[in-house]
Symmetry: C2
Subunit: 263 residues, 2 copies
């Protein structure tokens, strides 16, 4: 993992009615192809760091991986942009369903799940609660954490937290990738995600909800907006969705009993 | 197109140390399945408006459609979330290549093109120029245009402009979709895109560059950040890339001879 996530380039900048030649830092975009059991699966555009976490997190989010024990081998060829993941072949997976789903996915991967029983099977039962002051403090920490964002403005970030602090943090040009990376790291490091919450810089759409539900996360927090489908899924899955956390404000969209006003 | 792009819901809002029950407006997220010549192609998560523009724009961006004359029929079933597009079958398209590309795409669709001659074949030769004051004025107009964004904070927007004003404007929860919608509208309304520029609210990654190159757009402008791959493609494709247009500032990343300082 030696590749940098940013790059310096020469640009022309307008400031105060004048154009100047300056050096700027931009975020890198890297195509990573995941080969799953010797089958080319997908090419993700991502930030070139922690590609093993991304590959494992993506496979988990897509339902192709259930736990760490199934993994036989993970190799990342950073030069060629390839992650090979081999898992035990005796998986209880319907390859045809999987194949169909990937074909009809595009940026809308996961769409096949909306009305499926898959989702409601995964209802999160955690009794975890957090004070409003705790949410505000965590989001403040979260925003200070993002080094690449402050340098480039070009990445999303995601974090796994307990009520008091950030446990795992990641950045990526894709908001889905940033979340897959934290879950990939958790899976590879045997870090449990129950009774934890997730903070994301990005909008909360249905796909984000399905990802956190798969990890049994009871609370998802964003400084951005949710979609109606994200809210509906959060409601159905027993997840507390908090959006627009900015300054001392926040919106609690679903399962609001987990957010306790600290006044 | 009767479905609203937003929805009202009851939420809990923290303001000034107090939690209040309030009504909030959130953006809708809608799964649209595109069926192309009776073959299910992709499911996009999008805002439920102008679905015909989205379907046509997407097919054009993916190279499955070259011009309006090829289209035999477009039907949108808003209730079921299905757009059916039928085109003349005697297309000069390699179905296997297409199929392969869609399977290995995910959110990284277009990745197969990075090193392909496809991209450089489409070098934009336009001599169009625009003054810095013109860029700033267009971006101001652009930001005032976004009704759904101001209501929900949950959408991206895109616009096709000439040097003086916005010609076509669209909003969508996806930054790719917003651009596909403007190009779909142009295609269906016989609106030429040469000598025009595009403004987007989103980050400028490689996929966005490939979309505008296909429409022969010489200038792409964003208030957000570009990626290094976006910059590299803009450079190779002869496209002027302007980012971080905020207040009276902007960064010109490539082909900067098209941006003339108005002082």
């Amino acid at each position: 993992m030696i590749e940098s996530e940013t790059e310096k380039i020469a640009i022309l900048r307008l400031t105060g009615n004048e154009l100047h030649d300056v050096e700027d830092v931009v975020v890198r975009e890297f195509p990573l192809t995941i080969i799953f059991n010797n089958q080319e699966l997908v090419t993700l555009l991502c930030s070139p760091a922690n590609l093993d976490y991304l590959a494992i997190g993506f496979l988990f989010s897509e339902g192709l991986l259930k736990n760490k024990d199934e993994i036989r081998k993970v190799t990342v060829d950073q030069q060629r942009g390839i992650a090979r993941v081999e898992v035990d072949d005796n998986l209880d997976l319907d390859r045809d369903v999987l194949f169909k789903r990937l074909i009809t996915s595009g940026c809308g991967r996961g769409a096949a799940f909306y009305n499926a029983s898959d989702a409601t099977n995964q209802r999160v039962e955690s009794r975890m609660q957090i004070a409003t002051a705790g949410v505000l403090a965590l989001v403040r920490d979260f925003q200070h954490h993002s080094v690449t964002y402050r340098a480039t403005g070009g990445v999303h970030s995601a974090a796994l937290c307990d009520s008091n602090s950030i446990i795992v943090f990641s950045e990526d040009i894709g908001r889905h990738n940033a979340i897959d990376k934290i879950f990939g790291q958790c899976l590879l490091s045997d870090m449990p995600t129950d009774e934890k919450l997730v903070i994301t810089s990005g909008r909360i759409s249905s796909e984000i909800l399905l990802k956190v539900a798969r990890r049994n996360i009871p609370i998802i927090i964003s400084k951005s907006a949710p979609t109606d489908l994200g809210i509906q899924l959060a409601n159905d899955l027993g997840i507390t969705l908090v959006g627009f956390v900015r300054g001392k404000r926040m919106n609690v969209y679903t399962n609001n009993w987990r957010i306790v006003n600290s006044g």
